[in-house]
């Protein structure tokens, strides 16, 4: 595990969104979730209403449940897999630091891991990605208020050697819940042609669509 995964200033998690979104996405009633967590239904209701903040034991458990529902593997296997992923995938934290970049992304930008990992998204890129990071942060992705987002982006990669490389990328974005608890941004997508960029932009109706948690 690289050190860049540590020492991050963690945003305050918005527990009402996280708990409610998890519960509804799994189709659970408050009573069923209360049973799973070993608490009363009243407690779930109070947490979802924001009347009280769940204790750390529950916070930890909710993140574990989220993780199990999305990944079903250990964090190391997940990170390793992202590093080897053939398509464009990257994991970015709330500060904008790139924690992991897939082989597909490195191939697309013609760079090695050091050209991306550890750098900030607003330092490595110009164009739509830094704007997207800001928009996701403003919408509360790192606090658990965003369910997913879709975007069609035009980016310029600023290679460590000073070279500039332009790409069109169609992206799908979601929060990933890491123990900590910490929420990171998982970007996955594909390089597209200028024509596909125009088509997707027309069908989305905007460069990005951000979907809030339920």
């Amino acid at each position: 595990m690289p050190d860049i995964m540590l020492n991050v200033e963690v945003r305050a998690i918005h527990w009402p969104s996280v708990i409610r979104h998890y519960r509804l996405s799994e189709g659970l009633k408050q009573a069923a979730m209360a049973h799973d967590l070993g608490v009363t239904q009243t407690m779930i209701s109070r947490w979802e209403a924001g009347a009280t903040v769940p204790p750390s034991r529950i916070q930890k458990r909710v993140f574990e449940l989220y993780w199990a529902s999305q990944v079903s593997d250990t964090r190391q296997v997940w990170l390793d897999r992202i590093g080897r992923h053939p398509a464009v995938v990257c994991v970015v934290n709330s500060d904008g630091r790139i924690l992991r970049a897939s082989r597909g992304l490195r191939r697309s930008l013609d760079c090695d891991r050091h050209g991306l990992e550890g750098r900030f998204i607003h330092e490595a890129f110009e164009g739509d990605w830094p704007v997207l990071h800001q928009a996701l942060a403003d919408s509360g992705l790192f606090e658990g208020r965003v369910a997913s987002a879709e975007s069609i982006d035009k980016i310029t990669f600023l290679a460590p050697g000073g070279e500039r490389r332009n790409r069109y990328v169609h992206g799908l974005h979601r929060p990933t819940f890491l123990p900590g608890p910490e929420i990171v941004w998982q970007l996955s997508g594909a390089d597209v042609s200028e024509r596909v960029h125009a088509d997707v932009l027309a069908s989305l109706g905007a460069p990005m669509i951000i979907r809030k948690a339920i």
Binding site: H21, L24, V77, R81, V88, V169, L172
Partner: protein, 215 residues
């Protein structure tokens, strides 16, 4: 294809999710919702479990009741939806080779709408390496959880009623995903690569595929 555009047409869970979300957010019991729609509670239960889909005239009633617009964009939840809307090539495949979920990117490469790819057998839609890969995965115990992941360099050849369509060299990464019911699904991901990269991958992998056993 955007999420909003394709949601209710191709998402098999669309009605189930819509009804549940509406009922939970309105704090209604199944019986109350059934009353409002003029059906039995058993019917609502069947819709919500995914055992049945509402008939067309009932879909209109549900839309009217829940206020869902025609292209209602449900928040994207669950790992399968995440696969379905991937801009890159991705699919969820059963051990029998049925494509349960195809990504927007795979459909784009194949030149077909997603719903014409989903539910089909891999062998009906593809020729060559991808079909061979399914057989290898089965033989190596992939669907019994023996492998952590499989990396591959394949040539995808897509077949439809108009004939063959060569997608070309693809770099793939595959892993078993343990579904809610304990079944292992094949999570396929891939990206098209150039011929030089393809040759490099074949050298690196020592052939068409490299298997990593579970550590």
């Amino acid at each position: 294809m955007s999420v909003a555009e394709s949601c209710h047409r191709t998402d098999p869970n669309f009605w189930r999710n819509l009804l549940r979300r509406y009922r939970f957010t309105s704090n209604l019991k199944q019986a109350a919702l059934a009353y409002d729609l003029g059906v039995t509670q058993a019917m609502v239960s069947r819709w919500e479990s995914g055992a049945a889909r509402p008939a067309t005239d009932m879909q209109e009633k549900i839309r009217a009741l829940t206020g869902a617009p025609d292209d209602m964009s449900a928040p994207l939840v669950g790992w399968r939806n995440h696969v379905a809307f991937q801009p890159g090539m991705a699919a969820v495949i059963t051990r029998d080779g049925v494509i349960e979920t195809a990504s927007a990117g795979l459909a784009r490469e194949a030149g077909l709408p997603r719903n014409e790819v989903e539910g089909r057998a891999l062998g009906d839609l593809f020729r060559g390496d991808l079909v061979a890969l399914l057989n290898t995965l089965n033989a190596k115990g992939f669907f019994d959880g023996a492998l952590e992941n499989v990396e591959s360099a394949d040539r995808y050849c897509f077949v439809n009623s108009h004939g063959k369509r060569d997608i070309g060299p693809v770099h793939g990464l595959h892993w078993p995903h343990l579904a809610e019911n304990g079944t292992v699904w094949w999570m396929l991901t891939g990206a098209r690569v150039g011929i030089d990269e393809f040759d490099l991958l074949r050298t690196e992998l020592g052939g068409q595929i490299a298997l990593s056993e579970r550590g």
